[in-house]
């Protein structure tokens, strides 16, 4: 039993905004009160107490990321090292941290739950293996569905009910938590560039299936299955100038459904080429603010190194074959074909400057913090361990303006960031880093400090330098155990995995089996991820 006393508590989900009060913990959960002997006390005077952070969209495990790890040994040499000790596994931080380092780095930041946002079903077993080696944090996975041909074929035939059964079966086979739609319809759409009509044009190889149909059908299916997290959508035309029209159109298709828009920054561009790229964050925010069915995460970029991992639609299952993990292939010119491209965002680059501004503009212009969450689409926009830099930019308008002034003069005409004077409060930071994403994920025991919640708590020294404050929490508790103290990992605990079990008709297997045997090189019976591979599974029945 534990009592955190004297700290200013930010628990926006329970209407607590910086009041000095005690937080009590027993058996890994928050409780109203603890009594008697054996109650340990943490004196949090002069500190602020947050619910543990929740990352709604990140890439920390699985085939693509693991491929990227091998591609950048030069980054690994420069990265933070985790030295082996009797308690800790060795690891490397940096742009694509190893699994152990990922757990330590997230916990070291005060984050206790992460959602791996792109899991191909065929290699879901791999993702779970890595998540099992990702310590401390709790995890969930979104399963890639919008380019699954079994599903698209059914949509082509107009068999929506069966498509729903297949989706449900696939989620359970992958031991997933949510459904992710990446670039629905795929590669063909990429080629059509910024044409706003693309969402209504048939996907290559189909006559009736359009990206629009995929989006609407999946949103409806996720709704019907009553999954805790709505459809998690990565819109078409990611990163392309002028893609704002595609994004707006996607959002219109989603009217009437709940949906989560991933890494919105990459989808809010105007202009008709790289030379005329401009921010359309204001347009996007205006629509978004008026549509409470939507949530989003920022997908902000920060200047510096990153690795962009492009999910390439229908070719998804072949991406893993773009391989040759020998160090010889680490030459940059070799990497573009692989969909994994090490990239440096530069402040002096006009395009990068606009991208940088768009992420922040969205966070500032979307007025309800419960609907926009802090992410960098790690590792695409920046590494997750740089979130404190973004928090600093959000909380300090003078600091932000100073940074804006350093951008190329040309960029200033294409952004509105310099005009925005909103400053986030600590309470709002608690919302965008924890309470909001927990709610969007439907994780009722995360993101708050009310009785019954998991005792995941981040305690920070109050410090006007917000970056420093959020970079080095004084304490981090996971499930009631102190895992981080003064910025160092003190104790390593295992994390759990949240998975959903949507109801489906068992007979769907009889429909799938022959198709599978025809088109897949893996045995049908070996396809579903076995339950025992999911460490600490927390299963939610639904539908």
């Amino acid at each position: 039993m534990l009592r955190i006393t004297g700290g200013r508590v930010y628990d926006p989900a329970n209407g607590i905004h910086g009041e000095v009060k005690d937080v009590c913990i027993s058996d890994g959960r928050i409780v109203a009160e603890v009594e008697g002997t054996g109650v340990r006390t943490i004196d949090a005077s002069g500190m602020v107490v947050f619910p543990g952070g929740v990352d709604v969209h990140t890439h920390v495990a699985g085939a693509a990321l693991n491929f990227a790890r091998a591609m950048t040994p030069e980054n690994q040499r420069e990265a933070v090292k985790f030295i082996h000790s009797p308690e800790l596994r060795a690891g490397i931080g940096g742009i694509t941290p190893t699994t152990f380092a990922t757990g330590y780095l997230y916990a070291g930041l005060g984050y206790t739950t992460v959602n791996e946002a792109a899991v191909p079903i065929l290699s879901a077993r791999h993702t779970h293996e890595e998540l099992r080696d990702t310590p401390i944090v709790d995890k969930s996975c979104c399963v890639l569905m919008a380019n699954n041909e079994l599903v698209l074929d059914l949509l082509e035939e107009g068999e929506t009910e069966r498509a729903k059964q297949v989706v449900a079966w696939l989620i359970w086979a992958a031991k997933g938590y949510g459904v992710k739609a990446v670039n629905p319809g795929g590669v063909a759409a990429w080629k059509w560039g910024k044409d706003a009509k693309i969402l209504s044009e048939p996907v290559e190889g189909y006559s009736k299936v359009t990206p629009a149909k995929i989006i609407a059908s999946l949103a409806a299916i996720v709704n019907d299955l009553q999954l805790p997290h709505p459809l998690h959508i990565h819109c078409n035309n990611l990163g392309a100038p002028g893609n704002i029209s595609t994004t707006l159109e996607t959002m219109k298709l989603l009217e009437g459904y709940r949906a989560h828009m991933a890494h919105l920054q990459f989808h809010a561009y105007g202009g008709d080429g790289w030379n005329s790229l401009r921010s359309e964050a204001a347009t996007l925010a205006e629509y978004f603010n008026a549509h409470p069915n939507l949530t989003a995460d920022a997908g902000a970029i920060l200047f510096g190194n990153s690795v962009t991992i492009t999910a390439d639609g229908p070719w998804q299952h072949l991406l893993y074959q773009l391989t040759g993990h020998k160090w010889g292939n680490l030459d940059v010119e070799n990497e573009t074909g692989c969909g994994i491209v090490p990239y440096v965002y530069k402040g002096s680059n006009l395009v990068n400057a606009v991208q940088w501004a768009v992420g922040l503009e969205l966070l500032l212009l979307i007025n309800d913090p419960w609907r926009i969450f802090l992410t960098t689409d790690h590792p695409n926009g920046a590494c997750f361990w740089r979130y404190p830099e973004i928090i600093h930019l959000l909380m300090d308008v003078d600091f932000r303006r100073e940074r804006v002034r350093k951008l190329p003069a040309k960029a200033l005409k294409r952004i509105v960031l310099g005009d925005l004077d909103r400053e986030y409060t600590l309470s709002e930071i608690a919302v965008i880093t924890s309470a909001g994403p927990a709610r969007a994920l439907g994780l009722s025991r995360k993101g708050h400090l009310g009785p019954g919640a998991d005792a995941d708590v981040a305690i920070y020294n109050e410090n006007p330098d917000r970056e420093l404050m959020f970079r080095y929490p004084r304490y981090v508790l996971k499930g009631g155990q102190v895992v981080v103290e003064e910025g160092a990992i003190r104790k390593v605990v295992d994390g759990r995995e949240f998975i959903v079990h949507p109801s489906f008709d068992e007979n769907i297997e009889e429909y799938l089996r022959p198709l599978f045997e025809q088109y897949y090189t893996m045995s049908f019976d070996n396809y579903p991820v076995e339950m025992h591979r999911v460490e600490g599974a927390d299963i939610r029945e639904c539908g």
Binding site: L88, G328, N329, G337, I489
Partner: protein, 306 residues
């Protein structure tokens, strides 16, 4: 293999070494987008000699031994319409016309795949030969969809790559002496280490270097305390100080293996072994080591966070 209509096997003999590769994965199956199956695909075999795989190929290109890098580099230039020296091309055993034809076919493919075997990656040039294939494939993507994939020889060598990458950040040859992973092929790769005599103990898992490595490496294994875990008493076991018999993967030991395209598959062992699994024995050794005092100096224990 639902899509590939153009397949190149380079430096491999799948008919003998990966017997079902053609029929199950690449050539014969009627793919979703290649409904004609074998008839809808073109297969090119590049090798230094005629092997049984030639029978399955539409085109066989016989390259002189050790000239693969030259050929691939020439292809890279031709893909970009750059000039090459005809006489020096001919030294590779292939003519400029043959290579130009190949480039034309590659560019016109709807979806191309290059599978490269150990005949490429283990011959003179080694990793640079693999790098050359990757570079070529990357450049072909400016024209059409092209991918490539190494034909891995041993059972779960792909798994070893995958596991090492997520645990250490590097695919092989990882040095943990200073408490964190370091990578430098040539410095930390086994044959180099053993030939130089750098190690003072060795644990051999699921391998028989005593039968496959150069003699100086074997000699060093015999000099130092070597420990072998294997389902059989191998040649390495005979020169080792310690041998422990373990259950055979997939026969009597359960678990996971990775296919060469990095798809993980579960094992369904049919027999019950009288021996423990490798995993169990490794863990027991680990427990014993853990019981001893840590060798890392205390000054190492500070963990740099974030």
């Amino acid at each position: 293999m639902n899509r590939a209509d153009f397949i190149i096997y380079w430096g491999g003999n799948p008919a003998d070494c990966h017997p079902r590769h053609f029929t199950k994965y690449t050539l014969t199956p009627k793919g979703k987008h290649v409904p004609m199956g074998r008839k809808g695909r073109t297969m090119v075999l590049v090798d230094v000699r005629e092997t049984p795989s030639v029978r399955a190929a539409d085109i066989f290109l016989q390259v002189r031994p050790g000239k693969d890098f030259e050929v691939i580099t020439t292809l890279r230039a031709l893909v970009k319409n750059q000039p090459v020296d005809q006489a020096r091309v001919a030294e590779t055993g292939l003519t400029l016309a043959q290579l130009q034809d190949l480039v034309g076919r590659m560019k016109n493919a709807r979806f191309g795949v290059i599978f490269f075997g150990m005949g490429l990656s283990m011959t003179r040039g080694k990793h640079m030969n693999s790098a050359a294939v990757l570079a070529l494939v990357a450049e072909l993507n400016a024209f059409t969809k092209f991918v490539c994939m190494p034909m891995r020889g041993h059972g779960n060598v792909t798994g070893a790559d995958v596991v090492m990458r997520w645990t250490t950040g590097f695919p092989f040859g990882v040095n943990l002496c200073r408490g964190y992973p370091r990578f430098n092929p040539g410095e930390f790769s086994t044959v180099d280490l053993l030939v130089r005599g750098d190690n003072d103990a060795a644990l051999i898992l699921g391998a028989d270097p005593g039968a496959t490595m150069p003699q100086p490496a074997i000699d060093h294994l015999a000099r130092i305390p070597t420990i072998v875990l294997d389902p059989k008493v191998t040649r390495t076991s005979r020169l080792a100080r310690v041998h422990i018999t373990t259950a055979a993967m997939g026969i009597s030991a359960p678990g996971t293996v990775y296919r060469m395209d990095e798809i993980p598959l579960p094992l369904r062992p049919i027999l019950q072994s009288p021996y423990p699994t490798d995993e169990v024995v490794i863990r027991r050794i680990h427990e014993q080591v853990k019981a001893k005092p840590a060798w890392l100096p205390a000054s190492f224990k500070k963990v740099p966070c974030a």
